[in-house]
Structures are given as structure tokens and as C-alpha cells.
Symmetry: C2
Subunit: 200 residues, 2 copies
């Protein structure tokens, strides 16, 4: 394997994995790309190509061994060495993400949250911001999630970079200024809503 997997494909892998995990183990020892496509309402060729890229262990006529396919998906998604993330900003959205357990299925885990406001500190999962850098360095954290108010986002971004974080998932509408090697993914909920609304 070790082929390059484009973002468009990467985005679909969690869907496949989740669906395969839900499938009845007895009934589906094998599953074909064709069948999976039909069940997920996706293009047949698209699924076939995605799976070929990720696994490539399909057998004509029978399809993929379900268990093996799950394993390959997990391997590409990073389940095998559980990618850890931290979050800064324990407002409503931050707390919702911290307590959302849907990431672990794909190998991601938000291991801690941080906030400056003592009211939001909560022993087991949300810590004071001063502890951020040390925590990240000690635990080799590479992914940081920003859910602070927009006006504090750049400052938190810089704190993250100082703490050796390489990927930032930004939930604020601020365009973060970062050096070349840092990856930023902006999550703009209003954008999604705009697209949905325009399609109606």
C-alpha cells in the first residue's frame, strides 16, 4: 500500500468504516463494492476505486472480506496508533466536541480540553490554559482544535504552534496566520448552511 490518498477519498473513508462496523457480522462475511455503493447511495465506481486504493484485496465475484476491509480502513485512518487531539475553548461547542465519542471509532481521541475561565475548568477533562504547552509536549499531541471566540483565535493558534502542534482544526471564522508547515482546516458551519440553503 502506502499510496497517496486524495482528500476527497479520505473524507469518505469514515463513512465506509462506520457502515461496515454496523453490518451484521453473520450475514456479511463478504461485501462487494457494488453492494456497499448501493447501500450508501454512492456511485458504484467511486466506491470500487476508493476501496481499491485503500485495500485492493477484493476478489472478483465475492467482493471484500468484511473484516479485512475494516482493518485496512482503520489502518489508513490511523486507528492503529490512535491519533490524539486537544481542544482549547470550553464553551458550548468545545464541550460538545470534548464529550462527543464518535471520533474514537476512527482512531481519533480528544484527550483534553483547556480554558482560561475557571468556571469552565472541570477536573477530569478541562484544564487551565497554563497547562496546555506542557501537556502537549509530554503527550506528543499533534492536533489542536480551536473553539475559542474569534478574537482570541490567533493567539491560541500561536500557542499551539509553540507546543509542537502540526494540524489545527479551526472552528472560528478567523483566517489564521500560520507558517508553511502547519496544516489548518477551517470548519465553517455557516458555509455548510449556506450551501444547503442555496440548494433548496
Amino acid at each position: 500500500m502506502n499510496k497517496y490518498i486524495p482528500p476527497s477519498v479520505m473524507e469518505r473513508l469514515p463513512l465506509y468504516l462506520h457502515f461496515l462496523n454496523k453490518l451484521d457480522e453473520e450475514e456479511y462475511e463478504f461485501i462487494s463494492a457494488t453492494k456497499l455503493a448501493k447501500l450508501l447511495n454512492l456511485g458504484e465506481v467511486q466506491v470500487r476505486k476508493d476501496l481499491a486504493l485503500v485495500s485492493g484485496c477484493g476478489k472478483p465475484r465475492t467482493g471484500y472480506k468484511r473484516y479485512e476491509l475494516i482493518h485496512h480502513l482503520q489502518s489508513v485512518l490511523g486507528t492503529n496508533d490512535c491519533t490524539k487531539a486537544v481542544i482549547v475553548g470550553a464553551g458550548k461547542l468545545g464541550k460538545a466536541l470534548i464529550h462527543y465519542d464518535g471520533f474514537e471509532e476512527y482512531g481519533y481521541k480528544i484527550v483534553a480540553g483547556f480554558d482560561n475561565d475557571p468556571l469552565k475548568i472541570d477536573g477530569k477533562s478541562i484544564f487551565p490554559l497554563e497547562m496546555f504547552s506542557q501537556f502537549c509536549l509530554e503527550n506528543d499531541i499533534k492536533i489542536g482544535i480551536i473553539t475559542v471566540p474569534e478574537k482570541n483565535a490567533q493567539e491560541i493558534c500561536e500557542l499551539m504552534i509553540q507546543s509542537n502542534i502540526l494540524g489545527i482544526w479551526n472552528f472560528t471564522p478567523l483566517k489564521l496566520k500560520v507558517p508553511e508547515h502547519i496544516v489548518v482546516k477551517n470548519e465553517n458551519l455557516a458555509s455548510s448552511l449556506a450551501v444547503l440553503s442555496s440548494k433548496i
Copy 2:
């Protein structure tokens, strides 16, 4: 105007609008696509083309009249007739979205939340599920947001369709079964995380 605006462009419009709203009114009576692109770190031609599609009132050398551009963006995004949305599922994520006030800048407003669990009912914004249909019909709601557990998602989806909702923003990983004319936008946070993680 009334040109067709592709989803890829639609997605960027809230970014432009938010940025223009933040700009100092005195300093920027006019702003050029070139300048905007530089400030937002986007492609110069991309911004120019987007703005031409949305407004087209740019003047060579001076650029766009800031105020006019804002107005055109709002008009396309729907601010002018404030698109209303409702949400079902008042768990952590649902509550975070209900109280998130960032949508209104773009003309979208989550006007009410619904839940079956009496513990989550909260007079001013979260109502019992039985009131859902009537509320939607009376208030001419066209957008529904699903933040219930996956196992209840299809059932809520059908309730929404019965209540004349046309666009569904689905935060569960379940592939919803809907008739032709219903638009579904799946928001899969794990997908975003997968893309980010793979780019590091």
C-alpha cells in the same frame, strides 16, 4: 443577477461577508478583489470571479464599494428574508448549535429546538417533540437540523419531511433515505478530522 452560483462559491461567500463586516468602515470605503484575496490568503482570480458572480459592480482601479458588496452578498446568502431553521436533538451538540449566534450574520437563524427528553426541555428555546410539526407548518420552516442519536435519525428525518421541511442538515453518520426533492447535507465531523490528520 440571478445567475447560478455553484456550491464551491456558495461556501466561500460567508467568509467574504464576515471579513467585510469586520473591516474598518473609514479606512475601506472601497476594497478590491486583489486586496481581499491577499488578506484572506485566497487565489486572486478566485476571489475576483466569485465577486463578479455575486455583484459584478466592481470598478477598475478602485475595486468594489464595500457597502454595496456587503449588500449583494447578503442578498445572495438570504439575509434579506432571514431563513429560519429548527433543530431536533438537544444533546450537547444540539444545544451548542442552538445557542451559537454566528449564523445570524449570514441571515440564518435557528428559531427553536425540540427533544423528547423532558430533562432537556427548556421553555424559551427547546420544546417537546410533539410540538414539532405544528411549529414548522405555522412558521413556514424549510430547514431542519438533526442532532439526535443515529438510531433515531431516520425517524426524525421522516417527521421533518412530513412537516414540509425541504433541506436537512444531518449531523449523524446515518445515510438518510429521502425522496428526490429533499436536499440532505451530511456533516461528518470525523471526515474533517480524517482529512486534517492525513495532511499532517
